[in-house]
Symmetry: C2
Subunit: 405 residues, 2 copies
């Protein structure tokens, strides 16, 4: 009985209300008849639940486009200014923040650079509070602030937001959840629902809900930065593993005896295809210091860059074949610099992936992110909405009015 299910009629009503709002949040407005069809509920139940959501100000019914017989049908739509979250994508060299309304509408955003080695947990927390203040200043009147979501390039404990290891930030065992919560309480008097996740896990969530994986239940998102992160969606749900640490594809050993990795192993996938690895493989004296420069040089036919890219393509393909055999996904999304790399190494990747077992290989597509570089940021906004979307009525009656501060 490990699975959580509705046990009582109250639970059932709350669950069904939550399901309808999640559907509207993720898929946009819908006719009542659509909601009847997708939910399996009867028409009168849908009517009651929509009224409750409408009374709470979370949805509105309005005339939509004319239907087939010419009469405009009523559309139930999420009210994007009713509930907002603040979402963060903490990167090695910048912090991106967005204010996002119900339905996934980005209402405001900002990007702030920082020095790569100097982003301490203390300065990150200070930044988060100050940027949250700026975001909330942009929130519509009467919007309820229902959550804050943060993506981190590291191993994160979902339950308490403890960052176990974020080697590329130089952080280890940083209680980011506690630090942010305390700082928010100090600034705002109280703190809303706070969710912290691994950057690639959040990228997977976003591409699954709003990106190339919207129609698929099994998806892997690869964040290609200094490190290679992985987020895995299985059967429509994030695969977390025992402690939320699953999907660390960057530390899958693909080249035993290969380059030493920060993690202590050798020949990890990220030591072979991470951006640092590619830059390192090219003579820095050539003046190439970024992955974009290396890729541009390879495209221009520069020999060392081309060789480094070709080699990375082999390892990329080998690792992808492993993931196909292990997870049988419908889509693998190549984020970060991998989306720049892929077009240059399609031949190598195709050859390597051809060695995966045919049953799984026939079902997979390789894609670049539909959300460009925003997958993690959007995923952070999605997890920030989780509490509202689990229990809408209770949450909006709580006192986190964005404009109350």
């Amino acid at each position: 009985m490990a699975t959580r299910m509705a046990s009582t009629q109250d639970d059932l009503r709350r669950l069904n209300r939550a399901r309808l709002l999640r559907h509207l949040h993720e898929r946009g407005s819908a006719r009542r008849s659509d909601l009847v069809a997708v939910s399996g509920l009867n028409r009168s139940t849908v009517g009651v639940l929509v009224s409750e959501l409408s009374d709470a100000g979370l949805v509105v019914e309005a005339a939509g486009a004319p239907g087939q017989v010419g009469r405009p049908s009523l559309l139930v739509a999420p009210v994007q200014t009713s509930a907002v979250v603040v979402a963060f994508d903490l990167r090695v060299d910048c912090t991106i923040v967005a204010l996002v309304g119900l339905g996934g509408h980005e209402l405001w955003r900002r990007e702030q650079s920082h020095k790569r080695a100097k982003y301490t947990p203390a300065s990150a927390v200070k930044n988060i509070v100050s940027l949250t203040r700026q975001a909330l200043d942009q929130a519509p009147n009467d919007a309820v602030w229902v959550g804050i979501g943060i993506g981190v390039p590291g191993v994160v404990d979902h339950d308490d937001g403890l960052v176990r290891q974020a080697p590329n930030l130089g952080w280890s065992d940083v209680p980011l959840g506690d630090l942010v919560r305390s700082a928010l309480v100090e600034e705002f008097g109280e703190a809303p629902y706070l969710a912290i996740g691994n950057d690639a896990d959040l990228g997977a969530v976003a591409e699954h809900v709003r990106g190339v994986g919207a129609d698929h239940s099994n998806l892997i998102f690869l964040s290609g930065e200094v490190g290679i992160g992985g987020g895995v969606i299985i059967d429509g749900r994030p695969m977390l593993g025992a402690g939320g640490f699953g999907g660390e594809v960057g530390h899958m050993v693909v080249h035993p005896g290969g380059s030493a990795c920060r993690c202590g192993a050798r020949g990890c996938w990220e030591t072979e295809i991470g951006s640092d690895a590619l830059v390192r493989a090219v003579d820095r004296a050539n003046g190439m210091e970024t992955i974009e420069e290396v890729i541009a040089a390879a495209m221009a036919g520069e020999a060392r860059a081309r060789a480094a890219v070709d080699q990375a393509g082999e390892w990329l393909g080998l690792g992808l074949a492993n993931l196909v055999n292990l997870f049988n996904p419908e889509v693998i999304v190549l984020g970060g610099h991998l989306r720049l790399l892929l077009p240059l190494v399609e031949a190598q990747v195709r050859e390597q992936v051809s060695h995966a077992l045919s049953a799984a290989r026939d079902q997979v597509r390789l894609e670049i992110p539909a959300l460009d570089a925003d997958s993690t940021l959007i995923g952070a906004s999605e997890i920030a909405f989780d509490r509202l979307l689990a229990d809408p009525i209770t949450v909006v009656t709580e006192p986190y009015h964005a404009t109350a501060s």
Copy 2:
């Protein structure tokens, strides 16, 4: 809204009834108060549901051991002779069959050898029908035959029981589900619920329900035979992937450029640690033809056997470290010959697994199966019970009486 949930009160009642019976089937008898506690339902609802299950003959209430205050409390127990399944473990060199009653009690079993290269689909189907007949002849009077479950060492489509690839049986694209169903209809007039799964997937189910993973939600089962299969339980549920082909850990490449694998790749995990690989690595002129002989020789200090085992230990550890990073499991169960190999190579395995990221590494235990060599067989019986356990009352009113044939 991809997840199936109760939408109506009828659904809810059926789900709750199913949950209670599954709990009793998996965990054995329980007091009504235990059922109240684990289900979250109230006492009167539990009472009604238990009565319904009791009226259907699936459970019985009887005096159990005295409670703390000395009064014997009523125990609700599954009736093991009320519903039975026939379970098969098809192996490369033998077929094992069991008749299993509700609650997981093995009522009868038989093992039948066959020649390794000569087990065609036709002979397998003929065997299955004949052994099913023998099993049902042992079924208690009035037992309802609710299903048949079959484990196959290959890539299986769960929906229709199509065996896509079973290289070690020499099968490909064998519609085993259709063949068995037709043959059963011919023999018995009709066929019960039929479920076919990959051997390692079923091993994972069994070890999760009744074995070393009973208290864990994230588990990997490795079937170590000629090939290396993997079954993965994530968040309490089998990880299937898009087509049910996930968990093919045996074809994770750990040694690029290593030995050629039947799958077309090189250096797959199973070419490095499969039983054939180990036997091949030792001089066959020494007279060692089975993995048991190689392991015995290694234990006795024979140099080539010891070297082969040591090398396999390195690859075993490297692959395990990958699985720890990718899946963050609480338990990895080493089945088949891997459970014999593990004690000989603990040092190599420990060293390799020490390179997994600490957050995930700290949470994992390596175990040998609690169900010995029966994990797949027991898993096959579990999936055969799935239809009954999803909708108990409907299923037992259907006409598959084991003794009716």
